[in-house]
């Protein structure tokens, strides 16, 4: 059998070159980096701009923030906690964006999930165990997703309109749920009950520093082993694989980032007393990234999501149950929004009618697009939501440190979003030109 590497086609369109994924063509680390840069310049590589943006945010805010507090351990952990909700909601939104749809309701669906979770653990009323409250909150969100998904996929209603209606309906539902019980619209997570504590600790609880190190080491070692084994097996059997040096660089990068995160989190960040260790929200967010990446990249279902986003007609002709895949995507979207909502409730220490789901969804879409997920469907990964969420969280955090008001945060985030969508549209134009 012939290997997959074939001599180049002299008739192939030369404009196609910049878009080639580096892992496909590069034979060495140098070539890999070069082809990566070429793609970045043509707007095709979506990681580089967002990483560059993150570095810029860090440098600028570190220089201009009072006492250069931006890069302090306390602030960095705080930044991640602020970003976590944006990240998870961006990942929720990704399920809709990958299909070329949009879900405007994720903010208030998240809020409904958060309110259900907070209400059910109130000792004065239902006093459910924390795990039951979380399960019911997430199931309720999944049900919402199933309803909206059915309207979009089976009844062929435009997702924009269905979820715009959802935005209003679930805003109302959130307010109704808030009025239940004797809390005058402000159920809180402060109190003595274990169940309240667990929900509060989703965001604010910390893992013991030693346990953090051990868990990190086990996870990094496991992932490195899997990455190395996969790449070397593919190299041995002559399949398309990055050169060994690239695999080593990837593993090294993973290890460095992981060690840095745990080291920063394990510095005592309290002014008085001791607050240290990796906050629980970090493994929670990483688990969501990991699970959904696995689903999207390594399963049939994920493949169909991308296929429908790229060419729904081709997917239909290939025998894919398009309506089912679409419906399930909306279920996953709302379910993930529910996770974001529980984290948000934890972040706020309770829920209130001040929660602005309309703004949350805008930040969710912005985070996904800034991270590199295309608004036109078929392109994007879960990691994009994580990186984009960090950008938005970074701007929010930095503006706060500078003592600037929220209006400036909106304006700066808006401009960042414009830049991201410009890159998205640019790379899309490049792609159509290559095939034309």
């Amino acid at each position: 059998m012939e290997g997959p590497e074939q001599p180049p086609d002299p008739t192939a369109a030369p404009t196609a070159e910049p878009e080639m994924p580096p892992e496909v063509v590069a034979q060495s680390l140098g070539e890999y980096l070069r082809s990566w840069m070429v793609r970045a310049r043509s707007g095709e590589n979506r990681v580089l701009p967002v990483v560059a943006g993150l570095i810029m945010i860090t440098v600028v805010f570190e220089i201009i923030s009072p006492h250069h507090v931006f890069l302090s351990a306390g602030n960095l952990v705080n930044l991640f906690q602020q970003s976590a909700v944006f990240m998870v909601l961006a990942m929720a939104e990704s399920f809709a964006l990958l299909l070329g749809e949009i879900d405007l309701s994720v903010g208030y669906v998240a809020a409904v999930g958060g309110v259900i979770g907070v209400q059910l653990v109130q000792p004065a009323t239902t006093n459910w165990p924390w795990w039951a409250a979380i399960i019911v909150a997430l199931l309720a969100c999944a049900l919402i997703g199933a309803l909206q998904g059915t309207l979009v996929a089976r009844f062929k209603l435009p997702s924009f309109v269905v979820t715009l209606a959802g935005l209003l309906i679930f805003n109302g539902l959130m307010l109704l749920l808030l009025l239940l019980g004797p809390f005058s619209g402000y159920p809180s997570l402060s109190g003595r009950s274990t169940n309240l504590h667990v929900l509060y600790n989703l965001m604010w609880g910390n893992i013991d520093p030693v346990a953090s190190w051990v868990a990190m080491a086990v996870i990094v070692a496991g992932l490195s082993f899997l990455m190395w084994r996969r790449d070397s097996r593919r190299r041995r059997s002559g399949l398309v694989a990055p050169p060994a040096s690239v695999t080593v660089v990837k593993i090294a990068a993973l290890a460095i980032v992981s060690v840095a995160v745990v080291a920063i989190c394990n510095i005592n960040r309290a002014n008085i007393g001791v607050v240290e260790g990796v906050p629980w929200v970090i493994p929670i967010v990483l688990a969501v990234v990991g699970a959904w990446s696995l689903l999207l990249q390594r399963t049939r279902y994920g493949r169909y999501v991308y296929a429908i986003g790229g060419n729904a007609e081709a997917a239909r002709r290939a025998g894919v149950d398009v309506a089912m895949v679409r419906t399930v995507a909306f279920v996953l979207c709302s379910f993930t929004a529910g996770i974001g909502g529980l984290l948000y409730a934890s972040y706020l220490g309770g829920m209130s009618n001040n929660v602005n789901g309309g703004q949350l969804v805008l930040f969710a879409v912005a985070a996904a697009v800034i991270g590199g997920t295309s608004l036109f469907g078929g392109r994007g990964r879960m990691m994009d939501g994580l990186l984009g969420g960090l950008v938005i969280g970074g701007i929010y955090n930095g503006m706060y440190l500078l003592g600037l008001q929220v209006q400036w945060e909106f304006i700066v985030t808006g401009f960042v979003l414009l830049a991201a969508i410009a890159i998205d549209a640019l790379s899309r134009r490049e792609a159509t030109r290559a095939t034309a």
Binding site: E2, P4, P8, R298, R300, R303, G378
Partner: protein, 261 residues
């Protein structure tokens, strides 16, 4: 009779045989009493002007339309093709112009779309990549740089080649190509036509629907002409010349001695 003898010897029973097919949409008679033979290991060119019924006939064979009357025989047995799935179960694959591929997926992902191989719940990428490479190599589709490049980066001819290879991959016995060379340049067209010839050499029955008579005459072993829903001529390619095909397409008949249908 002497001149048709070799063909009879090659395929006593055509792979697919259509007899007396009728199809109307409301008052419009799209097909009337159409007969068609598609023998294995031969390329049949289906010609006809716009609205002659080419695509309706194709869709009846591909299971997208149900005929109102008439019978389709597959390997000599009467069959009913009620869906695209039925068609592919028999071994009939249709390649539609430019509708078959998802741009954002790579070649392997496209070739296995809808029929991914799975091991322990996860996609078996290694196995799929090997099988796709083997199929492409057997059809000598060797101009692509890597089978892991997104289809968006391919030229038109390469895309069409991948779409054809995708159809062949599933042990198809009949491959229907709808305007396979529309919108392709000269070299790209040649690439696709060569691929069609290799399919034939693999023993596959091929039906090519095309407006381009140059292409038809280059690859077709047999030619069938539809005119206003009727099959007005059907014979081996050497029985036609360009002039006669054009006359059949535009008038339904030819000034000289009529060709047997």
């Amino acid at each position: 009779m002497a001149q048709v003898a070799p063909e009879v010897k090659v395929a006593e029973e055509p792979l697919l045989k259509v007899r007396g097919l009728d199809k109307h949409f409301g008052p419009v008679q799209a097909l009337s009493k159409v007969d068609l033979d598609l023998p294995a290991g031969q390329v049949t060119g289906l010609c006809g002007d716009n609205g002659a019924g080419k695509s309706v006939l194709t869709k009846c064979i591909a299971g997208i339309h149900q005929p109102d009357a008439g019978q389709i025989f597959w390997e000599g047995r009467p069959v009913e093709i009620r869906s695209a799935r039925d068609a592919s179960r028999l071994g009939i694959e249709t390649v539609y112009q430019d509708l078959a591929l998802a741009d954002n997926l790579d070649i392997v992902q496209n070739m296995f779309l809808g029929r991914e191989r799975v091991r322990r719940g996860f996609l078996d990428e290694d196995e799929m990549e090997r099988a796709a490479a083997a199929t492409l190599a057997s059809l000598r589709v060797t101009t692509v740089r890597s089978i892991r490049q997104p289809v968006a980066t391919l030229s038109g001819g390469q895309r069409q080649s991948v779409a054809v290879a995708k159809a062949v991959m599933w042990n198809s016995k009949l491959v229907i190509l709808d305007e396979p060379t529309a919108a392709l340049g000269v070299m790209q067209t040649q690439m696709v036509l060569d691929l069609v010839k290799r399919l034939r050499d693999h023993g596959v029955a091929v039906m090519v629907i095309s407006h381009n008579l140059n292409d038809v005459f280059e690859v077709a072993d047999r030619i069938a002409v539809l005119y206003l829903g009727r099959m007005v001529a059907q014979d081996k390619a050497s029985a036609f010349d360009r002039q006669s095909v054009v006359e059949y397409m535009t008038t339904g008949t030819v000034g000289r001695a009529p060709v047997e249908t």
